[in-house]
Symmetry: C2
Subunit: 534 residues, 2 copies
């Protein structure tokens, strides 16, 4: 053991419902982990304060929740780890994306300005906020009309959940809120800005979030003001409301301010990495420093990340960003819009308090759920159709079916959706040779992983740590503090800090179900094809 | 008041889960009603005695339940009515159909012969027993090949739930049970045979049940032995196992035996009417003695009965039988295979103990259930597709939908299904000028009736008595005892005995929802068309 082993990095992993603080020693030993739920959770039904009913496709968050829950989680993790705060030498932040908000130039979220507290369009929009449908259509339409070159990096379609549709939605529905906004930014960037302080003009923006969610590219920058003007004349100035400097994850965005240090229970001056999208953080977090490993981060939704040596334009792949995940590779982002969320929705729909009964009964069912088929587009379809308007369904229902059939069919649909993505990548000569499942879901729901293995007919590896993204964030924090940690490359940091996690759990495909799933997957693909053409 | 008002008739209404005994004075005043559930209910999961797991499309009943529950219900109704048993002058019986069983020539159900108690194919099959799929296909295929003339009276298709498919199923799956059977018969006929006694050769068979469920016709009798032999060589002798004499409902099948009189708590010798199908009994029961009134009997499934002055062959109409419902008319039978059953399945699927919460929340939803659409073929489609293989579905689902959306969409689908039937009849020049809802469901579920009215854009009348079929049975019992009651025609009996029930409750269509349902109904029809061609 060298002296680095007394030092630790803090990973702050901001999910949909909670933030997780993970303290990891530089040799990879996890010292402590604490998850704290956001007091307001997802804001889906009523606007806080006014009680206004929100439209069904709204999903907001409260910005104070992020800071307060992170402080609680960090203080609690420090206590649990029994280390001196001074041993924490770097901080990394990953965040759901595109979760974003309008702010004033001093960093105050617009929704906390009393005048706008009652304006729902002034609140932070969670990644799954789906109300910008018409704006997404317009943004795509104009991009196609103008043959915008950046479009092909996004599989030819901009998603409903991305940055500019959400900005345009506020412009078109609440002009005064848009006008009062001085800074539009990702929630992850806002969080890092809060930690390191400084003027709006130099606020650190993540190249990862900008590259995947805001059509930004190191060579061509954001789309042009002409493009934005063509979308909506009043949208021409949107880039004026996006001050800051671009920072790659793993580079130092700044140092922890005294005020935030006090809040977190840490010394001031700790280097903080630029933010990374939560799913993307899992790639270093599970130790996948090479190309060809699909890292599947499974939670409420799933993001499937892949590094490749070549850039291939794959229709329907949400983002292909150079150095977007790890330096030296083209990062491919794909995803499924409702996974844990879908299972949880079904569990609530059928009035069960937990999964025990559903899991036991669905496990006993044969492949194909005795005729019940599901299309799991309950939150739209991300990859490859990139269409938030699409909806889910259950077919083949009879009076003899029960809740377990819905649950089983939904897990199968989720597996078909993954296989579709893998097939698509391979059909476009993007190699996928390993499948690594990460996040909490694969640990809680081993049945689902077995179904995935059977539907794909391939081994699924489950990363033993449940802290994939949080560990990735900590690794990037350690890298941002290279002068304190001595790490000089991502590969070096990944290798050192993931070695202690243990070997991956292998879930092998079973011969008979694998065979039975072949025609069932075909049926899913045919139904998906039919529905996408409606 | 004349002296007839001291006399009463007993209607025994055998439903899917229970039997109802209704005592009605000859002037229509309901004296007492008592419902008693069958101890074994529907036998869906396990064969009594052996505990053998039943296939999912099995639905059996226990023959002792019928007699025992009827005795309890009758005795209890007599007590409640506070009349002397001697004042009961006629008995009518209606029964679900086609519920049927194999028996010995002394009337013993085959499943009560010890040797066959453990043979599931020896048990009475409930109307909704759906295991005779391949037999139904074969029966239809041979009928079409041979261009059997009787086929067009059934819309060109024999249903999965009918008599001969269920017999053939036993022949092909349990030859020894088939061989040991001396009498195949409808459960309603078996019940009447038990009440009146006598030899198998003269057992009273209902022309209504035979006409609608066993391809029988007064002019052409049953299909020929040549036809049955073409279906399966060993099926040639099936008519040898169907002894008896044909009796129209409302004619006297015989007189109550001393043994059964003792059981029911009535004097021996009371005339008993031939059985009638439960749904068909509702037509006289709701006072519809004229043509052009669609009488909708809504319960677990719905049967929609119509009398017309002319015979039109309507594709998909399950049965057109001369004098099949009331003398002097052509009786049209149509139906929906899962109505109350479907709602109840949904209620259980979503884990609710009662309908209160579902009803309240679904009532607040706009037409179209916020994008959720249902195809209510959870028990196949009866009219007009006559296909028990078809299945149900929910489409348009998102994470924002709840149980109330499923329930609302299912009620709407049920209404679309009814409108389809009404449209079809009118398109084939069969007039429908009144819609009369009967059965328990329209009283329990007024929301559903309102949705029906809105989808059809027409007034729905709800018959005030909840005893439609039971009252119809009692009327037919009074008619069978014409020498004691003085009734000389069905019309006379219907008029006398339904006058006391009060006026129908009118549920009027609402303008705005009616308009909104027009395109939604179109979508349902298009989806039904697509699914039926898969």
């Amino acid at each position: 053991m060298t002296s680095v082993t007394s030092k630790a990095a803090l990973g702050l992993d901001f999910g949909t419902l909670s933030v997780r603080a993970l303290l990891v020693r530089l040799d990879g030993v996890e010292l402590a982990e604490k998850t704290v739920e956001y007091p307001h959770g997802q804001i889906l039904d009523q606007l806080p304060g006014t009680g206004e009913s929100l439209p069904p496709d709204f999903a907001l968050q409260h910005p104070q929740d992020w800071l307060e829950s992170a402080a609680l989680a960090t203080r609690s993790a420090l206590q649990q780890a029994e280390i001196a705060p001074e041993e924490v030498v770097g901080i990394g932040v990953d965040f759901t994306s595109c979760s974003m908000l309008p702010a004033k130039s001093d960093g105050t979220p617009l929704c906390l300005v009393p005048e706008f507290a009652g304006e729902k369009y002034a609140w932070p929009k969670l990644w799954k906020h789906h109300a910008a449908k018409s704006q997404t259509d317009r943004i795509n339409e104009v991009a196609r009309e103008r043959s915008e070159d950046w479009l092909r990096r996004y599989g030819g379609v901009i998603g409903l959940e991305w940055f500019f549709p959400k900005v345009l939605e506020t412009l078109q529905n609440a002009k005064s809120a848009y006008d009062a906004t001085e800074v539009w930014l990702e929630a992850g960037d806002w969080l890092v800005w809060q930690l390191v302080g400084g003027e709006a003009d130099s606020l650190p923006r993540s190249t990862c979030q900008a590259g995947y969610k805001a059509m930004w590219n190191a060579e061509s920058d954001y789309p042009s003001p002409e493009y934005f003007a063509a979308v909506d004349p009043e949208f021409e100035n949107v880039l004026d409301k996006m001050p800051g400097r671009m920072c790659a994850p793993g580079t130092c965005a700044g140092e922890l301010t005294a005020e935030q240090a006090d809040r977190l229970g840490l010394p001031a001056g700790i280097p903080v990495s630029a933010a990374i999208i939560d799913a993307h953080a899992a790639v270093p977090g599970v130790g996948a420093a090479d190309a060809e490993a699909l890292v599947m981060v499974m939670g409420t939704s799933s993001c499937h990340m892949l590094n490749a040596k070549q850039e291939k334009f794959v229709p329907g792949v949400a983002g292909i960003v150079k150095d977007g995940i790890l330096p030296g590779f083209y990062g491919y982002e794909t995803g499924q819009a409702a996974v844990g969320d879908a299972f949880d929705w079904i569990r609530r729909l059928v009035g069960h308090r937990d999964y025990q009964n559903l899991a036991e009964k669905s496990r006993a069912l044969p492949p194909g759920a005795e005729g019940v088929a599901c299309m799991d587009w309950f939150n739209g379809c991300r990859t490859p159709l990139m269409d938030g308007h699409l909806t889910g369904q259950f077919t083949g229902l009879t009076l003899n079916h029960g809740p377990e059939h819905l649950y089983r069919a939904a897990m199968e649909a989720s597996a078909y959706g993954l296989r579709w993505i893998v097939d698509l990548l391979r059909e476009h000569d993007v190699p996928v040779t390993r499948l690594i499942a990460s996040g909490g879901l694969p640990h809680h729901n081993r049945d689902m992983v077995q179904i995935y293995a059977n539907v794909l007919g391939e081994t699924i590896e489950i990363h033993p740590s449940r802290q994939g993204p949080a560990l990735g964030a900590a690794i990037l924090g350690a890298l941002a503090a290279s002068d304190r940690t001595g790490f000089s490359s991502v590969q070096e940091a990944v290798e050192a800090m993931t070695s202690a996690a243990g070997t991956n759990i292998l879930v092998e495909p079973e011969a008979e179900p694998t065979k039975q799933y072949i025609p069932l997957y075909q049926q899913y693909r045919e139904e998906a094809e039919r529905l996408s053409q409606k």
